[in-house]
Symmetry: C3
Subunit: 334 residues, 3 copies
């Protein structure tokens, strides 16, 4: 493996192999596997879990890491090709990224969506331009439309909890004060489809996922024996669900239009996960979320603090999942 | 030892054992004692000594560490229970803290006092709420009303300098442009009392330490054979003193009232440590301070740059003192 | 070697030895050479290459490092002697710097020029005051008037590319939106002179390098058999050049006067490196730059993306060059 950018680049069996390695490293640490190896990470956007679990994961495998945060201790980086750089941005990614790559054995980049032009975000224009400048093993730490580290950890979490691979998985839109990127919903949808699950996207009018995202997930479902559909009927969606994966995202009908997005979500206050969602139809249903989560906006306290919630387990699984990725990218064959 | 939160949680003999370990690690390093161990640190407030000495101390014992600074590369964290999180804070400590704890072998947290409600600060409400979410070895990197790492380093410094355990220790209020927290004065007072010293709190009117802090120190003094009293008479306090520990803190009479506090400190310009304080009555007296110190506001240049000052030694002792704590929390018995 | 502050402190042969070590470490890593050693770094100014290459270099030699960034997670530090510290700066370098030095085995400091008083900047007043407080091996990570890590990496780059030691080296002023410090031009000029090259400083009227900088470089040239002169005639300068080292700096005629500096650079738009500069007179000429570089302001895209540019190699060489410095400062003789 040379790049970990999108679970869709991997055959389902290759993902299963990676998950097996994650499970093995969790119980049988290899404290010298990456001795002398260095991971560089560039965060164009804030991070808590990725920042800390990546550093901890490298250290647990005997490696080291360094972190660069443009705008904090480092200047802002320019992305535009052909730019006349007479403004605030002191360095272009065409220099900055290959230079950082030259100091480390693997480079990870986090760069969120611009949230203005849906086609550009779906095409991962900015992220792919940076990725193409890296001639080392490379990790997507969350891009405009993907978050493979999160998806791998979530898959592991469902395996840990013995959620059937053919189980019903509801990806439900939930409320948030602002429009958030499509990275996690797109990655989650594809992961559940690739796992072989019966996937239902539950979302209000105006928040349908783009065709490109749905079609890609349907192709994964077709290959794995799963299925993908969407609805705005909560009762029907939750019937028999094993998992509700709550996630916030911006209106796709008004992509990049904050005012129209805000107006659309005015009447959607009941899109917060509460115990009353489950009833008899989904008694044992687990609630997942990638975190950070707005308590009492996206999910009620009593759900997060109750037995349905597996959000801490998901977050913890970031570390062994990423250790498997790092191991596969960097460990010397012996 | 599972937690290092307050020296008052430990018997005096246990502190002496810890100090013996600190002295041993200073002269006989154990570069592999914490191999493979990871310390996570969360700084809700700025740090220079704690940040660097903790990282250096872990590295000297063969371990690793990661640092999370909410608001800098990581979003702000919410503390309030039951909050409807529709504002700026993206994540609750109820998720953030246990997640970070799940990546490391020990977690340290720094969270200063709010400085508004004395009872809440004395109760360590916010800090204890976070501490209760951690199921790993845990370190107080400075809380509303405590700073055990500093206190341990200061105790070691007095041992290094052969200051008698029954010596006279004056904790003197000194000037600062603003009201500062009670963490260091409270921790210092208790440390000196627990060491068995004759402790005098020297402070102007309006700056008496709260009863809860004084009473706790008196209990420690009773157990160790020391004593604790307070005064505003500088000449009497300094008579025969072995140590003046200079420290700034806010008015306790006007706790949380910045305007009243500022007015009270207007006339207190002579509460700056100068050579003239000592004279014949305390000729060999040492001057201590936890740093950072405002030169020529709290302590005059000529004192800090002269032979009385042991502030650099105190700061250096943070490292071996904390190495002892980390060793006790994390080293596997062999 | 106890300090790495200025290449001018070293005999030419000692620099050649250091470069030989850099080349050796590049091909024959020594992953345990600095086991247990700790590098502390204080960045008063932003960094990308220095920050990451230093951390990576220490890790590749088996050591560890910590980073302190005053104003980001740490308070601002005061430099002025005798200051009454009743303002924003919470700690004086007279405490902060020796404390940090006491936690590590070598300390590095980056502190740019104030850019107001040329004599004070040329005298390295602020930097030397801090350096004098450090009793450990010490590294200049860029000061008001020097950048020895960059200069060493650039020298290595020319060796790697087999640029003759007697070759023609043109240090050319190039455009930038603002006045930048003299650190890199001064260090580069001295490095090329010390290497023994025919050095030409090409700069517009008002941007002549200060006599102190020119004279120091001339002394190095005299010792190495090289030469140093200046001109504003581009065609003559480029004739037969093996290297054009592009660099931005502020007007020395109007040092510290931003308005006059800005007016002076208004008519200097053609001071951007373009392919047309080279023609037949310097067909094989390489283009160097320390980075970060403003694309299409200082150097045109087509030059940076073309075969003349060796800027990525220079940046990469920061790591092995600094590894040699760290090795010389910290490795125990065996």
């Amino acid at each position: 493996m040379k790049r970990f950018v999108d679970l869709a680049d991997m055959e389902r069996d290759a993902v299963l192999d990676l998950l097996a390695l994650a499970a093995r490293l969790e119980t049988h640490p290899e404290p010298h596997a990456l001795a002398g190896k260095i991971l560089g990470m560039v965060f164009f956007n804030p991070s808590l879990r990725t920042l800390s679990s990546m550093q901890a994961g490298m250290a647990r495998l005997g490696g080291n890491s360094f972190v660069v945060t443009p705008g904090q201790g480092t200047w802002q980086l320019e992305h535009r090709l052909g730019a006349v750089m007479d403004g605030d941005r002191a360095e272009h990614v065409r220099e900055g990224i290959p230079v950082l790559a030259s100091y480390c054995d693997a480079l990870g980049i986090r760069a969120f969506a611009d949230g203005k032009d849906l086609a550009a975000d779906l095409a991962e224009t900015q992220f792919n331009a940076m990725a193409s400048l890296v001639d080392k093993p490379f990790i997507n730490l969350e891009s405009a439309i993907n978050h493979p580290c999160q998806a791998l950890a979530d898959w592991k979490t469902m395996n840990d909890l013995a959620v059937p691979t053919s189980g019903k998985f509801v990806l439900s839109w939930v409320k948030h004060p602002r429009a958030l990127p499509l990275a996690v919903p797109a990655a989650t949808l594809h992961m559940a489809a690739q796992r072989g699950m019966e996937v239902v996207v539950l979302r209000p009018d105006g928040f349908a996922l783009p065709d490109a995202i749905m079609d890609k997930a349907r192709r994964a479902a077709a290959a794995s024996g799963g299925s993908v559909r969407e609805t705005d009927n909560r009762a029907e969606a939750l019937q028999g669900a094993q998992v509700v994966y709550a996630k916030e995202w911006g209106s796709t009908r008004h992509y990049g239009d904050a005012a129209a997005d805000a107006q659309l979500r005015q009447g959607l206050g009941d899109w917060m996960v509460e115990e009353s969602w489950f009833g008899g139809a989904a008694a044992d249903c687990k609630v997942m979320h990638c975190l950070p989560v707005r308590r009492n906006v996206a999910i009620a306290d009593h759900v997060l603090d109750g037995p349905r919630s597996v959000v801490l387990r998901e977050a913890h699984n970031r570390m062994p999942a990423q250790m498997a990725v790092l191991h596969r990218l960097l460990a010397t064959s012996r």
